[in-house]
Amino acid sequence: MAGAALYGRSVTEVSPIAEVRRIEWRVATVTDAIDETAHAKTLVLDVPGWPGHLAGQHVDVRLTAEDGYQAQRSYSIASEPTRSTVAITIERLEDGEVSPYLTDALKIGDRLELRGPIGGYFVWEPSNVGPLLLVAGGSGVVPLMAMLRTRAVAGAAVRAASPATLLYSARSWDDVFYRDELAELAKDPTVRLVFTLTRSRPAGWLGSTRRVDAAMLEAVGPAPLLTPHIYVCGPTGLVESASQLLVGLGHDPTRIRTERFGPTGV
């Protein structure tokens, strides 16, 4: 209950000058559209004036109908910050107001409005030395992929200083985003990739089939003694459960950063 200790998560100092700068809406042009799964697509966007971003940040996308009606959604950035372009991966929600337009209607050369980058806490930078444990549920892999991509281009010294484990829970192999690229990244001995497929598996699947549980987190993750940086992203249920289990295993709660998707409630 000490006041000072309670301020522990205020990790960034923001100068009054930085606070004044508004995150402006920008017009982005779709330069590539990549099918990740039957229900998810990556849009590669050229954003003139993009100020750069950190792995883990997101953008807000705004659609405007002919009658002026506007809808906004937040999407995590999938690409590493070294590019002048921004990639977002969108999962198509069947009753969605925005995602079906982005995944089905939008074509290369089309334009859309976005602003960002947004968010200063669920981020990883190469200067965050130490083991990295990434826990993804479904489309929650997107910002974690940005972290792996950032790491991959950051140089051998960074990779050696920040060995990374991705535990990725998906319904089926067909629901796994970035399969080929992840396999490529995992050729690096400092990257460990563990899938669990909770609903259906390809023939001969030897990997895990359980939902993320304590035994799985203990088996894949760096031990609490190694004080890994932990990022958990996915549906609320998975994030709640995985983060509690990690605390139960002895990980420092302040090293666990979470991002919850999905059913909105109080």
């Binding site: 209950m1 006041g3 200790a5 309670l6 301020y7 522990g8 998560r9 205020s10 990790v11 960034t12 100092e13 923001v14 930085a18 606070e19 004044v20 700068r21 508004r22 995150i23 807000d60 906004q72 959604r73 937040s74 947004i118 968010g119 200063g120 806490y121 669920f122 609320t236 709640e240 983060s243 509690q244 990690l246 605390v247 709660p253 302040t254 666990i256 950063r257 979470t258 919850r260 909105t264 409630g265 109080v266």
Partner: protein, 174 residues
Amino acid sequence: MLSAGPTPYTPLAAWDFTLRGVDGSSAPWTWDELMALPRETITKDIHCVTKWSKLDTVWEGVSIDTLIAEAAKRGVETAPFIVAFSDGGYTTNMPLADVTGGKAWVAFGYDGKPLHPEHGGPARLLVPHLYFWKSAKWVRGIQFTADNEPGFWEVNGYHDRGDPWREQRYTGDP
């Protein structure tokens, strides 16, 4: 939902809520003491920065006005700004005027039931006229401050005031 880390689970026996003055004075309440204060049922629309609103939500809680009046009897004076602090290390800042005059509560009931930890229980701040990250989950107290001191979300890119009617979502929004 806007949460940055694992949900804290603080046992009620170890829980308290404290108003702290600029001069270091403090007025704490145990859980039982808070429950003994006059409570109100609050029916309000709430607005999350992640684009959803929920209409006519029903809460139960103790008004910040009540707490301030009680704390004054114990020598804790208000100041022009506040920082609410929570288990897990979260903080959020507001002008005093945003939490007084029947505009804010320490809420421990939602929809007729105790507030679940995933939704900020045992108690969260309830400031329905601002974006919902200002309604700090797992709240443990309020520090009065002479100056505006940006909190956890506010230093991490969210707007200093967070008025949903002006769509003040992010740092720098007018």
